[in-house]
Every structure is written in structure tokens, then in C-alpha cells.
């Protein structure tokens, strides 16, 4: 009789546990689907672009087809002298209404960076007024400027190698230009 009672209790406990598990499982299975659709994500022509400056040949300027990437592969300098490329590339705002705010900063640099005395990238507007200076040597340095619609601004590089720099020394620099607002309301 006692054995039967224990079995009954065990069965009830088992039923209770199974019920609990069922409730928990059922709860976990309650969910809603929500969708995010990007229809379409389209490719647009950039409003702000790079283009060759008048010193493109000397600086070895190569601009990508879209105008959103520029590479300089033949800039150099002499030790203890300053080399200036006044117009290595230009930045164009091709929109005819909107002025865009840009932020120029150093993304990375490597090589014989300790042999560099000065490295500046300067932005000049169409009338030759200085609008921004990036000191590439300083970590975290940046410059911001707003380029008005339909304007073309030039980018100048100023490079000074130290007196002790060797003719085998070189550096690589990657700069980042962040253009805010482009792509809004397109």
C-alpha cells in the first residue's frame, strides 16, 4: 500500500515537471517576425569627388573612376629641405545646391616616420584662401571644412625630411576624407 502511494506521488511529481517544461517551452516559442527591407540599395554617383590637380604628373596622382579614391605614387623630398606639391589633387563638390562638410584625418602611416620633420596637407579654396591644415605627424589630428556647391578646392602637400634622412627612407600615408550629408534625400 505504501509502495503504491509513493508511486502515485512520483507520477504526480513527474506530471508536474512535464507540465512546467511544457509551459516553459511554449513561452519560449512565442515570438514575432519583423522585417527590415532595403529596397533598393542603389549605387549613386558621388557628389564630392577627387580629380587630378595641375601637379598630378609630378605627384603621380591616380584617381579612381568613381572619384572617391586617390593615390599618389611619386611624391618625394630632399633631406633638410621642404618639398611642396601645391596642387597634387583637387576636391570637387559637383552638387549645384548642397554644401558638404568634410573632415580630413590620418587613417594610418608607416615606414621611416621618425625621419619626417614636417608633413602637412593643406586645403585651399578657389580664391587661394587656406581652409584647413592637417598635421599628419600628430596622432588624432584632423581638419574640417565645408566645400560650397559647384566649387573646386586644391589639396597641397608639404613634406620635410629630417637632415639625417637617408635616400632609402620612405613612408606610406593613408588619409581619410569623411563627407557628411552626402546620400541624404537621394
Amino acid at each position: 500500500m505504501k509502495i503504491g502511494s509513493d508511486r502515485s506521488k512520483t507520477l504526480r511529481l513527474l506530471c508536474f515537471l512535464l507540465s512546467t517544461l511544457l509551459v516553459m517551452t511554449a513561452s519560449a516559442a512565442v515570438y514575432n517576425y519583423m522585417y527590415l527591407q532595403a529596397v533598393p540599395i542603389s549605387s549613386k554617383t558621388a557628389k564630392v569627388t577627387f580629380a587630378n590637380g595641375s601637379d598630378a604628373v609630378a605627384a603621380g596622382t591616380n584617381v579612381s573612376t568613381s572619384g572617391t579614391y586617390v593615390k599618389f605614387n611619386s611624391m618625394s623630398g630632399w633631406p633638410n629641405a621642404t618639398r611642396v606639391y601645391e596642387n597634387a589633387t583637387v576636391i570637387k563638390n559637383q552638387d549645384n545646391v548642397v554644401n558638404f562638410t568634410c573632415r580630413l584625418s590620418r587613417d594610418s602611416w608607416s615606414g621611416n616616420t621618425s625621419s619626417i620633420d614636417e608633413l602637412y596637407v593643406k586645403i585651399y579654396n578657389a580664391t587661394g584662401k587656406l581652409k584647413g591644415t592637417l598635421d599628419v605627424k600628430i596622432d588624432g589630428n584632423y581638419t574640417t571644412f565645408t566645400i560650397p556647391h559647384d566649387e573646386v578646392w586644391r589639396v597641397e602637400w608639404r613634406i620635410k625630411w629630417s637632415a639625417t634622412a637617408l635616400s632609402t627612407d620612405s613612408i606610406s600615408v593613408t588619409l581619410m576624407l569623411t563627407v557628411t550629408g552626402e546620400g541624404t534625400n537621394e
Binding site: K71, G77, S167, M176, E182
Partner: protein, 183 residues
């Protein structure tokens, strides 16, 4: 009750404005510019000591200091500019700073290699000419820098100048620092 409603309305407006600004602000594009590489190269134009006054040429021959005395009027020449390659350049001098030039009744700094080109001219303590015309530095040639000086008083004056060396047909140039010290 009215104040509470007003506060809620104001808060809603502020939140909506903030939201719209934030949404606008996070739309941006990132472009990259790469300089691969920027190299140091052997100087193609260098400075050498002159035969007049005292000149000091610094490392790599790309900067110099010239010392002259106003007791002698003409120093020909204080420096040589050497073109070490066959390509031609255009050069000029530009004074970018100075000290105690009031005492100089005359300080003329000029190029010559046959033809003479006045580059910097101080007359009665003030600049009459702070930079010169572009001068041809033909391939594998030498241009001489000479001076005439006179002073009304004792002391030491300095003229800090760049020798600007242009790649013809471009706005690419090199700046070599030359200090002229006149005692």
C-alpha cells in the same frame, strides 16, 4: 495641468528635432587618399661654400648660413648653387623673416652666372624687394649668390631666406633655408 501639457509638448518637440538631426548627421561617406610611398631622395640641387665672407653648409648641402661684415661692401660670391642633374630648374630667393635690419643702409643679395638678377634688396632699413624673379638654373650648371652690404650702425642683422627651386611648368618646388648674417 496646463503647465504639464506644455512641458510634454515641448519635450516632444525637442526629442523630434534631436532625432531628425541625429538621423541626418550619421549619413556620411568615407573616401581615402593614399601616398605610397613618400620617399627621401638624394638632393638634385645643392649649396656649396663661396669664396667671400664665411659660409657654413649644413648636412646634405641643403641649407646654409652666410656671415659677412658690413665693413666690406661687396661679397662675390658667398654661395654656389649647384644643379647636379641635366634637368633644368627655376630658382629665386625669398626673405621670410629678419632681425635688426634697421641698421642696414643697403643689403643687396643677387644671383649671377653672367646675367645678374637682384633677388633681395633692403634700403635704409626696409625691404624694397623681398623676393626676386625666377632665374634659370640650367642642367648641370652653377649659379652664384653674391651680396653688397653697408650699415649705419654696429650690431648684427639677419635675413632669413628660402632658396625656392621650381620644377619648370609645375607648382612643385623645394625650399632650402639660407640665413644671411651681417655683422
Amino acid at each position: 495641468m496646463k503647465i504639464k501639457n506644455f512641458s510634454l509638448t515641448l519635450l516632444s518637440i525637442v526629442l523630434l528635432v534631436t532625432l531628425s538631426v541625429s538621423v541626418y548627421g550619421v549619413v556620411y561617406n568615407t573616401y581615402y587618399g593614399q601616398a605610397l610611398p613618400i620617399s627621401a631622395e638624394t638632393p638634385k640641387v645643392t649649396l656649396q661654400q663661396g669664396t667671400a665672407g664665411t659660409s657654413t653648409i649644413y648636412m646634405n648641402n641643403t641649407s646654409a648660413k652666410v656671415n659677412v661684415s658690413a665693413q666690406i661692401t661687396t661679397y662675390d660670391y658667398v654661395l654656389k648653387v649647384l644643379n647636379n642633374i641635366t634637368d633644368a630648374w627655376k630658382i629665386k630667393l625669398r626673405a621670410y623673416n629678419q632681425s635688426n635690419i634697421d641698421r642696414l643702409s643697403n643689403c643687396t643679395i643677387y644671383f649671377h652666372d653672367g646675367a645678374v638678377s637682384r633677388q633681395i634688396y633692403i634700403y635704409n632699413g626696409t625691404y624694397t624687394q623681398q623676393y626676386g624673379d625666377l632665374y634659370d638654373l640650367v642642367g648641370s650648371s652653377i649659379v652664384y649668390i653674391a651680396m653688397t652690404v653697408s650699415a649705419t650702425d654696429t650690431g648684427t642683422s639677419c635675413v632669413y631666406a628660402y632658396l625656392e627651386i621650381f620644377v619648370p611648368g609645375t607648382s612643385v618646388y623645394n625650399l632650402l633655408v639660407i640665413t644671411f648674417e651681417i655683422s
